[in-house]
Homo-oligomer: 868 residues x 2
């Protein structure tokens, strides 16, 4: 490794705190370190006879977006150029190095770090490239390696003139000016817009600062016995334990990444379609390759991880320039973690920590081929509501989606927003795209539950249902045209993009989850309404159902009959009418509960009593209304009057949840009876069942007392009549701020709590999930909110209520079981929060279960707690 | 006073705790006390020769609803009757006493206390009365005094047979059975339905229990030298310092109150229209009257209050039966409090404590004549949304209300619900009646602000706009028919009821408020949008404006022009369109603010920035929409699209308040500029102004930072340009639970907080103010909620957030000013809460200012705090 030194972050912070005035300590440090560095190569920085060149790069967190690129060849001036030519006897090399310096320095230091925003996106770099292109064209040169020393010398003259013209400043001709300019640029990049935005999103404190590496140059561009390359100690795309890398002969580092020349593979296992006829480093410079392969092993042993390395070969001598932990994709990350734990290269905890939740997520869904995506501009952007990628032909109605799917077509259903009547169409579609709605809109909730690709709230999307067209980003597409969606990023693409399948290596996933399960303390349950959901979640390792919505039976396939009885019940005016309708509803409700309890045999199933406002179920179609009127024996006019009476201005805070159970106790009674009779049947059949009954939208202790009295009474009746005991619990959702505050009182009668963080977030912020999309996006963009609180628990506000609640609840009832069943249950930061405040479990959509398992394990490593 | 004794509450509690088994201590006590009591008259309870009779009544909290009436003549049995006849030589008297005992005892003890619910409301008492009526008819008797001893004897035989027949039990013929039965009935009445319900509403603990008084009988029904009466030491209707009372010759206590015979006045000052030709006690029995008048003075001196007394004259000898603090109406209470403080009969604090807030309220509004109301059955019941009473002819539209009013008619406007476009009609009407909405619905808020009579959410009310009729309680009324409303109780009456004017004695009110002001620590501000509101409130003593809604100018008279500009702004699509509309809006906004600041010269005026969701201002009428489209130069279709885009599912939690200011900073900027320029103008004119700018709907500290930066910047600009300094503050509403939790952070930039308890209650409970009426009524009726939390602060939940918030806010900023401007600011229990948690002020509707002043003074007496 060429000698170098690092200026620490503290100096950087000091420097920035002092507004760009160089502190004395820093200048002394640099001088002292330069002298030390000069010892080894025996060259002097700035010396006319025997000049040392250096590279300057960010020395900490250098891979963060927005951090400065490396400046190479620093120290080349009219003073040092002649000496270097004399020394190397290679004027072409020297002028090549000089033109590179001018290009990099004028771009990175003189333009970007100075905060100059070029007009029309024509930065200085592109202007210089044009000059170079013109020169190549004039000389008939295919590549820059075809340019002669004189050509390059001429270029540097033209470059410097252009820099003066565009940036209004001379290119610095003093080695120390170049060095300090480069150092300043690294520090400046830490405070640049992109870096600041990234840190905000990732929650990285600005005070950390960066560091600066100054390193003696080794030259890969001195001729055919020189080369430069980058490598990974293992394959970053597959995770395979094989050295992987690329290099270029007679080049400098930037050429490998810039993609101007196609690089060679370092060995056979790095060979690709593109490089199939090229020589490898192993073939061209076997000694250097052998040394490099040895170093690769040493490095992995030392760092216990897969590394990203940079090297240069100067006249047959290998120099390592830098090494850092290598980036990898999801499947590779999982494979390497498992392998390294097996190889004892790292501990199990390290292995678990090495996979990020989004890497794990990559294994669970098909995605748009990243290569294709990198080349394509998205036509629109919405919220990333359902994971993975998808492509399909545009349809506009649920019926069409179902019909086209039957005809063997892949479709994407495009809607203003979706509602429960669209369910079958959404299921049939490859993906869902909506113009309105936020991360917890109907479409988003349903899609995430299924692990289906979905983009919602796509602001630029205009849907013309009559013409059957959509317009987005100025482009109009019609029914049947192809769209592709990236649901993990919220991007919409025109046309049919290449796809990568979901990893079929379930074995890999299972092995990794086993590692996590061996560590975590927090249990992971799932929100599941159907047997399919439950099966998926169980496969991933869910240990119970945290949310089974009793009203699920009114949506989707087979819902027609129960829905009809429900509607009769809703439209009833007298208790007698209502009871008759409930009696009709009872058999299908019992059947549905029985199926689910059977499917989850041996596990807890948390059944939430009726939650939505009743008017949500009032039919919109005329024929359905007429049918209903006939069944109830009332006129359409009367039916309309009753439907209108159910209308609410703010339904989210209206007559719903437990409030229905209080005003219509007969509903609660019917639900309890359906649950207990289903359970009794199963127990008699020898099935183990654990039904937990959960009361929603509670704000008063009197409400849960009122409801649990009904439930316990019905239990007594069923238990006596059927002669069985059922192991059941009664608990409450905590989704209203007042319920959180009253936890002590609620725990007097309630055996478990489950945080409904969707609603709790709504009420705590006063953000309607349906309406807040409009301003929430702006809030996160403007930095008023670090993150959408419907995606990740707001720990300052909502989190404080949760903490209060857990403390107070457990003070009253020591063994109170507490979980969360809101959408945030599958969000890693939220899982970490739940782990830390001592919840018993998180419950999330089936496809988030693996993510939650990983997050729970990482939380336990970060801050161990006793198992609960 | 005849001798007697009291069984204390402790024994009562013990008795009830032990489920109706008489404790030994109690029986011994009774025996011991009976013996003592017998000494003085020299008679013996149950003795055949010389029998003592006793009365039994509740001895504590006897005037509470549901408490048992007095049982007279206890101890009359077949054993004692002959002796008493011999002793008094007055068989008529004895049988009269006996038939009274049977009537009272069978009713109160054998039926009510035993919990028997008579069929068809035909209780035993009414059945016995029927027998007596038949007897009177048979004898041609006008009054029961016309019945002979034999008649009465015969009656008692028939009575006892009927009792046996109806209640299935013999009337007890043992004196001790009668006594114990009566004692048990007193205790039982404490646990009766009515008493329990009353205690729940008033927050009186059940453990207090009651006591029992057993007293030797004095007889007012032994002949013409006997009498019985009740009196008040001062006039309970006017407060005048004059002895007031009524009496009957040859009667027992129950006759005076029962109203069967018209009682005589005790003196001239007690004479009424009805009794104008009757003899007074002063005339009939001057010695007794003189003695009574002396006792009256002694009692007031002893008890320092106006007393309600009962007396009996037995053969020319005066006996006092009981005295207790007398009930009085509002004006009387205020007058007596002031007088007694002046007479040094009580301290200033006592005087203030003696007037209840609802008594004070009586002085502020006209009311339906209580006498008329007592005789009339209400046809419907809704929520008591605006105080006092009113009568008027039914109209259905705002325009009609205004037109009829102009034509000199009194009208009541009847609507499904009201909206801002109805404002002028509501102002013109005597009262407002709506079918929907709760205590904080639009109609309720507006009416309470004006002190106008209003009943909302009248569930049984059906309005047929086409037919111009209303149907309520089965009665259909048409436009122009008369209605009367009691807005303090929520009652609706058919027809034109007699009214009592609001007290014109402002002097009385002012004098009383001065007493209160001398005591209280909590400041009282007002919520006022118009100069009239402000003037009213100032007259009552408001010390600042706690809520001036900047959008008030878009409602009511003169709103057309600013509203038009506002609508242009709302419908703007680009920032430029919006800025142009804001420029047009600026002059009228500045003018309106200037007027108010001028009107409140020298006082703080808290100006709340734009609060409601924008779509609230989108016009409904087609012509207004067309006008708007023309002004903006866009098609109706485009206009509709823009209007639809503003639609929200849950507008209360949507894009409103500070969220508008964040997404459209130009709105905040315009508002700030209007405020500061108005203030600058006034200061230059020599007017003292204190504008406080309040940011609504805040949930994040970043929001207030964002907004206050704009406000401070605009201040700097205006201040510099105009060369004046303006004493202003910037603060925030606390109306979102998260804001309360984040108080510490908010106080970093905010100089004051004001609790918007309407919204805070909404979010903390998840109760939509517009929709919760449906179930809230049932919740309070079923006892799930002690009181509507929109009327009185929910101290357990919302109150806890308020406490947190005050603590945390003041921890950051010691001198943080904290107030409340929600509707509960005028509710006495809420004022008490605010006093105790250390708020600086409460702000309420102008007509609640006196109530708040009184409540604040009473709080200071109850729990003194240092002035802030």
């Amino acid at each position: 490794m060429p000698p170098g030194f690092t200026l620490t972050t503290e100096i950087c912070t000091y420097y920035w705190a002092n507004k760009r005035s160089y502190p004395k300590g820093l200048t002394q440090d640099v001088e002292k370190n330069l002298r030390k560095m000069e010892d080894l190569p025996g060259k002097k920085f700035g010396d006319a006879e025997n000049p040392l060149l250096v590279s300057v790069r960010s020395g900490a967190r250098s891979s963060m977006p927005g951090m400065m690129e490396t400046i190479l060849n620093c120290g080349l001036t009219t003073q040092t150029i002649p000496g270097l030519i004399k020394l190397t006897n290679n004027p072409r090399f020297v002028y090549d190095a000089y033109r590179r310096l001018i290009m990099m320095y004028s771009d990175v230091v003189m333009e970007k770090a100075a905060g100059i925003e070029p007009a029309d996106d024509m930065g200085i770099r592109r202007q210089l490239e044009r000059i170079m292109d013109a020169m190549k064209q004039a000389r008939g040169a295919k590549s820059d390696t075809d340019l002669s020393a004189d050509d390059l010398k001429e270029l540097t003259v033209q470059f410097k003139a252009k820099v003066k013209e565009v940036l209004g400043k001379e290119f610095p001709d003093n080695h120390m000016d170049q060095l300090w300019g480069s150092i300043g640029a690294v520090f400046a990049s830490w405070m640049g817009k992109r870096a600041v935005a990234y840190r905000r999103i990732e929650g990285i404190p600005g005070e950390w600062g960066t560091a600066v590496n100054v390193q003696a140059m080794a030259f890969g561009n001195m001729g055919e016995s020189c080369a430069t390359g980058v490598g990974f100690t293992r394959n970053p795309g597959t995770g395979e334990n094989a050295f992987y890398g690329e290099f270029l002969v007679n080049a400098q580092g930037e050429d490998v990444v810039a993609g101007i020349r196609t690089p060679n593979p370092i060995n056979e296992s790095s060979r690709s379609e593109q490089s199939k006829d090229m020589k490898t480093l192993e073939q061209l410079m076997p000694a250097c390759y052998k040394e490099l392969a040895n170093i690769r092993k040493k490095l992995e042993k030392h760092y216990h991880d897969m590394l990203d390395i940079e090297f240069t070969i100067e006249n047959g001598k290998l120099y390592m320039l830098q090494c850092r932990v290598g980036k990898r994709n999801g499947p590779a990350a999982v494979k390497m973690a498992i392998d390294m734990a097996k190889e004892r290269l790292c501990s199990k905890e390290d292995a678990v920590n090495r996979v990020t939740p989004s890497q794990l997520d990559e294994l669970l869904h098909p995605v748009i081929d990243p290569k294709a995506e990198a080349k394509t501009k998205a036509m629109g952007k919405g919220l990333p509501a359902g994971p993975g990628g998808a492509r399909g032909q545009i349809v506009f109605t649920a019926a069409d989606a179902v019909a086209w799917k039957k005809a063997g077509k892949d479709v994407i259903i495009c809607r203003e927003e979706t509602n429960p009547e669209d369910i079958e169409g959404m299921r049939a579609a490859q993906a869902i795209l909506t113009a309105r709605g936020g991360m917890t809109s109907h479409a988003a909730l349903v899609a995430r539950g299924w692990g289906k690709c979905c983009v919602v709230g796509c602001a630029g999307l205009h849907i013309d249902l009559a013409a059957k067209t959509i317009t987005i980003g100025g482009v109009t597409l019609k029914e049947g045209d192809w769209l592709s969606l990236n649901g993990s990023k919220g991007l919409v693409y025109n046309g049919k993009m290449d796809m990568l399948d979901a990893s079929e290596s379930n074995e890999l996933l299972n092995e990794f989850l086993k590692l996590c399960n061996g560590i975590r303390a927090l249990k992971v349950w799932t929100n599941a309404d159907t047997p399919e959901d439950a099966a998926t979640a169980r496969k991933f390792g869910a240990e119970g159902i945290g949310l089974f919505r009793i009203e699920h039976m009114f949506y989707g396939k087979g819902a027609d009959e129960p829905l009809f009885h429900l509607r009769k019940m809703i439209m009833s005016k007298t208790a007698d009418e209502r009871k008759a309708a409930l009696n009709d509803l009872f058999p299908s409700m019992k059947k549905s509960i029985k199926e689910t309890l059977k499917n989850m045999e041996g596990l807890h199933v948390t059944i939430r009593l009726m939650d939505p406002p009743l008017h949500e179920f009032v039919p919109q179609q005329k024929d359905k209304l007429e049918q209903l009127g006939q069944a109830l024996g009332i006129s359409m006019e009367e039916l309309e009057t009753r439907a209108n009476a159910l209308h609410e201005t703010n339904p989210m805070m209206g007559h719903r949840g437990v409030r229905l159970g209080v005003t219509y106790p007969e509903i609660t009674e019917m639900e309890a009876r359906a649950i207990f009779e289903a359970a009794a049947d199963l127990i008699k059949e020898g099935t183990k069942v654990f039904p937990d009954i959960m009361i929603p939208v509670v704000s008063l202790d009197t409400e849960v007392k009122h409801q649990s009295e009904i439930i316990h009474r019905v239990y007594g009746e069923v238990s006596k009549a059927r002669g069985v005991k059922i192991p059941y619990m009664v608990g409450t959702m905590i989704e209203i701020p007042r319920a959180a505050l009253q936890a002590g009182k609620l725990a007097e009668t309630m055996q478990f709590f489950s945080f409904g963080t969707n609603d709790l977030t709504q009420m705590t912020f006063g953000y309607s999930r349906d309406d807040s999309g409009v301003f929430l996006k702006e809030y996160t963009e403007k930095g008023l909110l670090p993150v959408d609180p419907f995606q990740s628990i707001d720990q300052d506000g909502v989190g404080e209520l949760i903490k209060f609640c857990v403390e107070r609840g457990r003070k009253t009832r020591k063994d109170l079981k507490v979980g969360i069943c809101g959408e945030q249950g599958g969000d890693p930061a939220s899982v970490d929060f739940c782990h830390n405040v001592g919840l018993n479990y998180v419950s999330c959509s089936p496809f988030r279960v693996p993510i939650a398992i990983l997050a729970a394990a990482q939380s336990q490593i970060r801050k161990p707690r006793k198992n609960k």
